[in-house]
Amino acid sequence: MTSSLAEPLLEARNVVKTFGHVQALRGADFAVGAGEVVALMGDNGAGKSTLIKILSGVQPPTSGEVLMDGEPVELRSPDAARALGIETVYQDLALADSLDAASNLFLGREHMRSGLLGRLGFLDKKTMRSEAARVFSELSVTVTPGGQTVRGMSGGQRQGVAVCRAVMWANRVVFMDEPTAALGVAQTRNVLDLIKRVRDRGIAVVLISHSVPDVLDVADRIEVLRLGRRVARLDARVTNTQEVVAAITGARQEEMR
């Protein structure tokens, strides 16, 4: 049932998170290795979002450990997580609609002109556009980097921009929260292919999803949370829908440490 996981890149050990009297995580474990897609599944309230927030630096855990490359790390803020090469694609994408794709890719991390102009705050739009075009073509995302605002793009293109932004800056881990939730069939196909291309770059991809078919298609492993604990680690190549659903709903308990 367990798949081989040689050296976890990012790992959560026995993480507890309480909000007042509510225990969102009760000793949850999680691990993802370089170059693999791990799907994090679970029913509503299972603790998926809380776990992702802890691993991306949005919230600190109440207790427990987060390890990167086997070393304990403290992710005090999203910026701290970013500095370690961890990026997140939020469900609402967090794009600036009235800016173009290249501007969104570099938002908050703009390239500046060299010399005095750069010190005065002038942007190097040319370099940013060509960099953006390179990332889009490498990941086969059909988006115009400049000239067109993100507002006018299709749902799949917007998702593509958000994923490319994360991948561009993440050299270790990318979290994706429900990346296909709002998409149609063909667009979902594109995004799943995009996830595979990201993985092939050696980046660890953590995918939160409710869609079992999508997960079975794209993930290498599936980790299932239930009531704030990991209840299953499944090898996506050999498991099936029934087994996944059983783990999510608690029809079969299986705790592995």
């Binding site: 009235s98 908050g108 942007l123 299709s154």
Partner: protein, 338 residues
């Protein structure tokens, strides 16, 4: 975002036809405004070819527009961040009052006094700007309410300081700025042109401008991109305040008095100009180029009606019609692009 858009997935964009690009350029709000402006100018130039297009009349139009242009550029900054500054007219008056009071206290006349007056006026505006920025960014008070409050407060303080009587004795070193020219161009126009270029470039070419648009498009997106939204918002309102203070000083230079009662509708004129120029009230868009066109439409109409002998009250009617038409065209454009 809707599942039904699945069919339009792959190459839809990328290679826009030149014709489509031209259409989108023509439908851009700032372009529409410029075309309307050109048409208005052409009509008046046809009706009154000599008097309307004369050098002195052109100079008069530019001078009339210059202070409103600076005010409009000022409020364009908060409007791009989906905020607003309604206090413009009052802060302008307050800055002028403070400027005259300090110059009087200092006494004398000469370039030094004029510089002092200018610095005091701008500093007064900056002060209100800091207050606006802090209230909006940290106090989480809607910009509409915060600046509605200071609209009353700044004018009230101006009346308290002056006792309700306009201060008249503006040093001649200041008023000469309002009457003299540089190579035939009035200094007021030179000042407005410099402000338009500097702040237009700031918006289009710098990181500061980029972040201003991003905050207007989505504060959440900006925050997640590690932009310090609160600090940036304060800067935006400080720019608006400082430019309004500058406009207050130029108003002194032009009218040689504090014009306490003369600026009640400044904010409405400025908002009209900015919206005419294509800035959305919902934030994220708007360029100084459009604002310039938006400022000149009411000014040219006013002047043109006087020159052609039409009752100038028609100006207000015409501006209202143009405003609604421009926003309606923008609405059509948006519904097409989405």
């Amino acid at each position: 975002m809707s599942p039904s858009s699945a069919a339009t997935v792959a190459p839809a964009t990328g290679t826009e036809s030149p014709r489509a690009r031209l259409t989108s350029l023509l439908l851009r709000p700032s372009t529409v405004t410029f075309i309307i402006l050109v048409v208005i100018v052409a009509v008046f130039a046809t009706i009154a070819p000599v008097s309307f297009t004369s050098v002195s009349n052109t100079r008069a139009i530019l001078t009339d527009a210059s202070i409103l242009l600076i005010l409009s550029i000022a409020i364009n900054f908060p409007m791009i961040t989906a905020g607003i500054d309604l206090s413009t007219g009052s802060v302008l008056v307050f800055s002028g009052v403070m400027s005259v009071k300090v110059m009087q206290a200092f006494g004398g006349d000469g370039p030094g006094v004029a510089v002092l007056g200018g610095v005091v006026a701008v500093a007064s505006g900056l002060g209100w700007g800091v207050l606006h920025g802090v209230l909006v960014a940290y106090g989480r008070i809607p910009a509409f309410i915060a600046t509605l409050g200071t609209l009353g407060a700044a004018l009230g303080l101006s009346y308290i300081i002056t006792g309700g009587f306009d201060l008249q004795d503006v040093p001649s070193s200041v008023t000469s700025i309002g009457s003299q020219r540089l190579l035939g161009v009035p200094w007021l126009v030179v000042a407005a042109a410099i402000v338009a270029i500097v702040f237009g470039v700031l918006l289009q070419a710098t990181r500061f401008g980029r972040h201003t648009y991003a905050i207007g498009a989505s504060q959440e997106a900006a925050r997640r991109a590690s932009i310090n939204v609160n600090v940036h918002l304060v800067k935006v309102y400080v720019i608006a305040g400082g430019l309004t203070g500058l406009a207050g000083f130029l108003s002194l230079a032009r009218f040689a008095t504090t014009t306490l009662a003369g600026h009640a509708t400044d904010n409405l004129q400025a908002v009209t100009a900015v919206v005419l120029g294509g800035t959305s009230l919902f934030g994220g868009t708007g360029a100084i180029v459009g604002t310039v066109a938006g400022v000149f439409i009411p000014t040219v109409l006013q002047n043109g009606f006087v020159v052609t002998g039409v009752t100038p009250y028609w100006q207000q009617v015409a501006v209202g019609v143009v405003l609604i038409a421009a926003v309606y065209l923008d609405k059509i454009r948006r519904s097409r692009s989405v």
